[in-house]
């Protein structure tokens, strides 16, 4: 029967048992490329996703730097004539027609491109599809995700969708803002690109649903023997909650974007007030997805923080259940607060309800922060790059989250809505939260990925530059916002210049920090020191296999024998007990 079995293995997408690292090429150069392109191995898919999303991040980052350069001066400096002339050469840019009409438009196009790329192509798939794909099965002790082929499909759908997004840029760019508000998005003349970009977001939604669905099922059915729900690492809890949001919220943006396309092509009049439609309906639809999606961005980041924090201060995480349940609570409540983006466009009743619920969602988040800080207490804290980024996360995300409060309160939001205060708020949570946590996770798991260590001091320097640059860039924007600077402004009144200049200088520092990180990563890939199986002393299952993992993840079937954070009870795999003194066993009956 074994042969038959093997035959069916192929059907399920697996090759022969091969104990080499998943990175070891088994075929010639072309064969290897083909192997990667058709792989159903979650690790390879994770790595491919990682490169793709980082590429998108850099693309979006370049756009951001362009914005910051434009904003150095109150008047427009990206010259209209110049960009107008350039746009002519792109198909769909309107040819002759676009030349002058879209003159003032370059800033708006870059701004939209920045937002859309960062949200749809970078941060939403970001952590779940890269780190999640790689580590979720490993941490569960599984050989793969539940539906490996669906996983590969999700990657291809992602690439296909992103291609539409990039295409829309080459067609001359979209200038609607990432929110695509109607009727602007449905009535601006001569813009087939809008359809391309909306289609991109629509297609990317499928990729997101596939990933989410896969992870939910994997978590339910592929946990290692002995792993109950409360033995799962918190990263899994976070990804699991994220996946629920992805599966339940994404279809709604799907239908919304579909309707938007029909509206544009056929003027069916659902969203366009000129035809009897309701633009506020679009906003409701849009935010019904896009609010929950901000927790798709932050929950996996919080999961990373829980892992990194525990390992690098070698301490049992405080309030495991509170953190796990708060992830679920955030996922649930996130569906009820979307209206807080529309306080200035909806009626009193809605405003009241949504403001009230918004404050609810802050509580489980606060609970997480308190528990993390409590975990530090009496820990054994190292200052590795992942840990430094964790401190940065706690600092920046707290600011980001706390500045969500005046946005959630009605009378203050009337002032702050659509101002730079909002811009600063969401960069503090998205960059200061998600990107910083992604960086923490990347460094933490880097050895597992590629089997090599990174240059610690180089990475620390990058971390410092990113932290300082980020604060200089975005803290100033809070003042801009309260003093009256609206967002999406290509030019502004002179009083604001000083803040904008400081902000731009910060952003250049930030970009420089990323250059440093890039060098560190490249250096590590080729020249880095070989990593051991468990360089940090982690207790989750991914540290129990080789570095980098073998093709089938584990030698034999892993069985869970200890909790993910039992640092005071178990010697981490790959460590010599001599180097890891354990405390005296607790007296009987005093077990926590």
């Amino acid at each position: 029967m074994t042969t038959v079995d093997n035959n069916l293995d192929k059907l399920a997408g697996h090759g022969h048992h091969d104990e080499g690292s998943y990175l070891t090429p088994k075929y010639g150069p072309i064969g290897t490329v083909w192997d990667w392109m058709t792989t159903v191995d979650h690790k390879k898919i994770g790595v491919m996703y990682m490169f793709a999303v980082l590429f998108m991040f850099f693309l979006g980052g370049f756009a951001a730097i362009a914005l910051r350069i434009e904003l150095l001066e109150p008047a427009r400096i990206i010259d209209g004539e110049l960009t107008g002339a350039a746009l002519k050469y792109f198909p769909g840019g309107g040819g002759e027609n676009a030349s002058i009409a879209s003159a003032g438009n370059a800033y708006n196009r870059i701004m939209t491109m920045h937002g859309a790329i960062m949200v749809f192509m970078f941060i939403v798939p970001g952590i779940p599809a890269s780190l999640g794909n790689f580590f979720l099965p490993l941490m569960l002790g599984a050989k793969d995700v539940a539906f490996p082929r669906l996983n590969l499909a999700s990657w291809y759908v992602y690439v296909f969708g992103s291609m539409f997004g990039v295409l829309s840029i080459f067609m001359g760019g979209v200038d609607t803002g990432w929110t695509f508000y109607t009727p602007y998005s449905t009535t601006t003349a001569g813009q087939p690109q809008v359809i391309a970009m909306v289609l991109a977001a629509f297609i990317l939604g499928f990729s997101s649903i596939f990933t989410g669905l896969n992870f939910i099922v994997t978590t339910h059915k592929l946990r290692a023997p002995g792993m109950g729900w409360f033995d799962m690492p918190l990263f899994i809890w976070a990804i699991y909650s994220t996946s629920i949001i992805q599966v339940l919220a994404t279809p709604v943006i799907g239908i919304t974007l579909l309707l938007l396309i029909f509206e544009r092509v056929l003027q069916i009049g659902i969203f366009d007030p000129g035809l009897g439609g309701d633009p506020v309906l679009f906003q409701h639809f849009f935010w019904f997805y896009s609010h929950p999606v901000v927790y798709v961005m932050i929950l996996p980041a919080m999961g990373i923080i829980s892992e990194v924090l525990a390992v690098h201060c070698r301490k049992r995480i405080f309030g495991y259940r509170a953190i796990a349940f708060s992830s679920l609570a955030i996922a649930a409540i996130s569906f009820l607060v979307w209206g807080h983006h529309m306080f200035t466009s909806q009626g009193e009743l809605g405003a009241m309800i949504f403001s009230f619920l918004t404050f609810f969602v802050a509580i489980p988040t606060a609970v997480k922060v308190f528990n993390w800080i409590a975990t530090l207490y009496k820990g054994s804290i190292t200052f590795t790059t992942p840990m430094l980024y964790t401190f940065a996360f706690l600092f920046l995300f707290s600011i980001g989250g706390l500045t969500g409060l005046p946005l959630g309160a009605l009378s203050t939001d009337l002032h702050l809505h659509d101002s730079y205060f909002v811009v600063a708020h969401f960069h503090y949570v998205m960059f200061g939260g998600t990107v910083i946590a992604l960086l923490a996770g990347l460094h933490h798991w880097w050895p597992k990925f590629f089997g090599r260590m990174y240059h610690e001091n180089g990475a620390r320097l990058g971390c410092l530059l990113v932290f300082v640059g980020f604060n200089v860039t975005f803290f100033t924007q809070f003042f801009l916002g309260t003093q009256g600077m609206p967002r999406r402004y290509a030019s502004y009144v002179d009083e604001f210049q000083i803040y904008h200049v400081i902000s731009s200088i910060g952003s250049f520092t930030l970009a420089f920090g990323f250059v440093v990180h890039l060098i560190v990563f490249l250096h590590s890939m080729f020249l880095g020191e070989k990593a051991t199986q468990n360089p940090w002393g982690g207790l989750t299952l991914e540290w129990e296999t080789d570095t980098p993992p073998i093709e089938h993840n584990f030698h034999g079937d892993p069985v869970l024998t200890h909790g993910p954070y039992d640092f005071d009870e178990v010697v981490p795999p790959g460590w010599d007990p001599k180097d890891y003194p354990l405390p005296e066993p607790a007296p009987e009956g005093s077990k926590h």
Binding site: N7, D144, L213, V217, L248, E263, L275
Partner: protein, 232 residues
């Protein structure tokens, strides 16, 4: 052993019984046992169906809002639809849902012949649904100028927002029809695999999955039918 023909081969040691794929199939490589795999597929399908329901519920929300805003236009638009065609199509889909369920039952009992018949009926019901929709509804209405949005060109419109009504009508039934087409592709695929004896009492995951999908497509129509055809 490596020479086993997956379709028709003799089970070692027993007369001339055929060993089919479904009998040999154990489970995918990364699964610990077949039950887990089956459960996982089930959960996966249900989650997918949840996304489908949410997709359509967005459409229903838009519909509800328009009903509130322009009740007369919705009523007028609806009065142009003939409930008899809609009703007929409802019956067609209900039959197909029934035969789909039967086909799964057949497979579970290893009644391969009947499974094929039932799948075929399901397939043709789906085709019939689309044909009725196209020939008796879409084409004549389009010809009369009852078109969505900017294409609306019906000279005898009585109320102000009939173009919007047709927009909602075409988009919602169109998305539904796309799902029917998708279902037909899936059923055709099942037919091929069923022909190759891929399904049987111990392995019918795909049948079950497609079946559930087909019921949802049916269910959506059960909602669309009264909302579009029967409001006055």
């Amino acid at each position: 052993m490596a020479t086993i023909d997956t379709q028709h081969s003799k089970l070692p040691g027993t007369g001339d019984e055929k060993v089919s794929y479904w009998q040999k199939y154990k489970h995918g490589h990364h699964w610990r046992n077949a039950d887990d795999e089956f459960d996982a597929a089930k959960i996966g399908i249900w989650l997918f169906l949840a996304t489908e329901v949410l997709l359509f519920s967005g459409m229903f929300c838009a519909y509800a809002l328009f009903r509130l805003m322009y009740p007369e236009s919705i009523a007028a638009g609806s009065s142009y639809l003939d409930w008899r065609w809609g009703g007929l199509n409802t019956v067609v889909l209900l039959i197909s849902s029934f035969t789909m369920a039967m086909a799964i039952r057949n497979v579970q009992l290893n009644q391969q012949f009947w499974a094929r018949i039932n799948l075929l009926i399901t397939f043709f019901c789906a085709a019939g649904f689309l044909a009725i929709k196209l020939i008796f509804e879409y084409i004549p209405k389009w010809g009369q100028g009852k078109r969505p949005g900017a294409l609306f060109n019906y000279p005898f419109a009585e109320t102000s927002h009939e173009s919007v009504w047709w927009g909602i009508y075409y988009v919602s039934t169109g998305i539904h029809a796309t799902h029917v087409i998708g279902g037909m592709v899936l059923i055709a695929w099942l037919l091929v695999r069923q022909h190759k004896r891929h399904f049987g009492p111990t392995h019918y995951t795909m049948m079950e999955g497609v079946g559930l999908y087909w019921h949802i497509v049916d269910l959506v129509w059960i909602f669309l039918f009264p909302l579009l055809y029967l409001v006055h």
